[in-house]
């Protein structure tokens, strides 16, 4: 009896606390929700949403637009993920070259070359790089390449330039004593960097790399310029096929937002796990 009473009392108190704490939020919600509902209702009527959704549904399900979307999703993921991996490899190599002290001429030349590379890829829009690469360089080199493969290559080269700067910061954040100790036991510079310094640098820059990945995913929306099928081109196709733009483009925006939100959540999780492992050590 008394236990039950106690429970009710506690629930009652909890509700009271909740209202006390959140009464402002609740009031704001109460004021905001009705106008929004009215607005949606108005928009729904005005733009004849029901009909538009029906058209989109026909395009997407009946005419098997979803198959195209699956292919688009696959290509977007492929370009972003493989591009990022290529970028990490290239970025690491460039960063490792750039942090060598220029004590002789070979190193100075290497610095100039990778410096020019970074300037080139950071100094031009990715669309321009895609167009020049696909329609100019590939034909000149007489290479036949699938548009998706070309996009992967160019996105990899491009993100390599950006990641090299991130990686350089990461390498500089590692205690120089680590490299010294590795060199002192007789390991060459490259091995010391690869086994000791770069792993610690990557750990330091993982969150930044996550953000770079998000940027990369969003940038892939331009691959349609060279004829690769991705999320964007899929919805462009669906839209122009039915002369009905609103629903496809809204759905497209939502899909990108969901993808980015998922990656951002993963990055957060990773950050928290790293912080925890740091504390435990």
């Amino acid at each position: 009896m008394s236990v039950k009473e106690n429970l009710f009392k506690r629930i009652g108190k909890a509700i009271g606390r909740f209202f006390k704490k959140h009464w402002i939020d609740l009031t704001v919600l109460a004021c905001v929700i009705p106008p929004i509902v009215l607005l949606f209702d108005y928009i729904y009527d005005k733009f004849r949403f029901a009909k538009k959704i029906k058209i989109f549904y026909d395009q997407f399900i009946v005419n098997q637009g979803y198959e195209r979307l699956l292919e688009g999703l696959k290509n977007t993921a492929l370009i972003a993920v493989v591009g990022l991996m290529i970028g990490i490899v290239i970025g690491t190599v460039i960063a490792v070259i750039r942090v060598i002290r220029p004590t002789n001429r070979v190193i100075k030349y290497a610095h100039n070359i990778v410096g020019a590379y970074v300037a080139l890829f950071r100094g031009t829009p990715i669309v321009v790089q895609l167009l020049v690469g696909y329609f100019l360089l590939l034909p000149i080199m007489k290479v036949q390449m699938d548009p998706v493969a070309a996009c992967i290559t160019i996105f990899g080269l491009n993100s390599g330039a950006y990641i090299s700067e991130i990686m350089r910061g990461g390498i500089n954040s590692v205690d120089p004593g680590q490299l010294e100790a590795a060199r002192a036991v007789g390991m060459p510079y490259s091995t010391s960097m690869l086994k000791i310094v770069v792993p610690q640098a990557i750990k330091n820059i993982l969150p930044t790399l996550g953000n770079e990945f998000i940027a990369l995913v969003k940038e892939t929306a331009v691959v349609g310029y060279v004829g690769a099928v991705d999320i964007t081109t899929t919805f462009q196709y669906l839209a122009s096929n039915s002369y009905e733009y609103m629903v496809p483009y809204l759905v497209m925006a939502i899909i990108y937002m969901v993808i980015v939100a998922v990656i951002a959540a993963l990055v957060k999780l990773m950050e928290r796990m790293l912080a925890k492992s740091e504390r435990r050590q």
């Binding site: 680590q178 010294e180 100790a181 060199r183 002192a184 036991v185 007789g186 000791i196 610690q200």
Partner: protein
Amino acid sequence: MKEGSNKKIGEPIISVRGLTKTYGKLDVLRGIDEDIREGEQVAIIGPSGSGKSTFLRCLNCMEDPTSGSIIFEGVDIADRRVNINTHREHIGMVFQQFNLFNNKKVIDNITLAPIYVGKRNLRRAKLKNALRTIANLFRKNKKELIPITKTKKEIVLEARERAMELLRRIGLEEKATVYPSTLSGGQKQRIAIVRALAMNPKVILFDEPTSALDPEMVGEVLDLMRALANEGMTMVIVTHEMGFAREAADRILFIDEGQIKEQGTPAEVFDNPKNPRLQEFLSKVL
């Protein structure tokens, strides 16, 4: 030589000739000639900024000498054309800040270099043998192949066994699988010393090995160094621990303004200093 010890001091292992080092316009080392002999323990003392660390770091070319030569086992390692890495394998180094590899467990800190070197030598031997086999096809008197005694697996196992043995020696075998950040300063430094030992070095260089330690941990590190000294390990030690230098070293070098201003046995240097700068220095630190 210390009384009561029966150790022998042998031929020079490292001979320094005409060593100078400048950073830009700053002359840090101004002409040093010195021999480090097998089995001796040399302590380096001197005021802050006098070039002690720079001298020590020139001995394994962590700093490239501006001029002069460092003869190690008959090779001038100051010459930029020699492969410094194969020589550094035989010169251990222990740092003030320990510098254990943060991304490696304790045992991997110790085995990293032995495994790297073992595998590299194996690779080199195999390559040479392959070339010799081909060349032998055209030779009348065939050249013998290099005997390959160990597989990669055996190299790894051996290195791990040796590392555990060393960890047992310093009583830290239960720390084998933890990361360095969980260790105390004294533990870190003893593991750093053991990491150098794992390469079976001909000589170990110490740069103020106890300066970054809490006072209560200095003893355990000095004890380990003393034990090494008694086993006849050749050691060069930059230190501010005058007591340790006096009792454990065979020879003291006093470096000031980039030169060795005075050197001798601990008794000579501490009890009967001749150089006025040394007298002044000792009056401050003793």
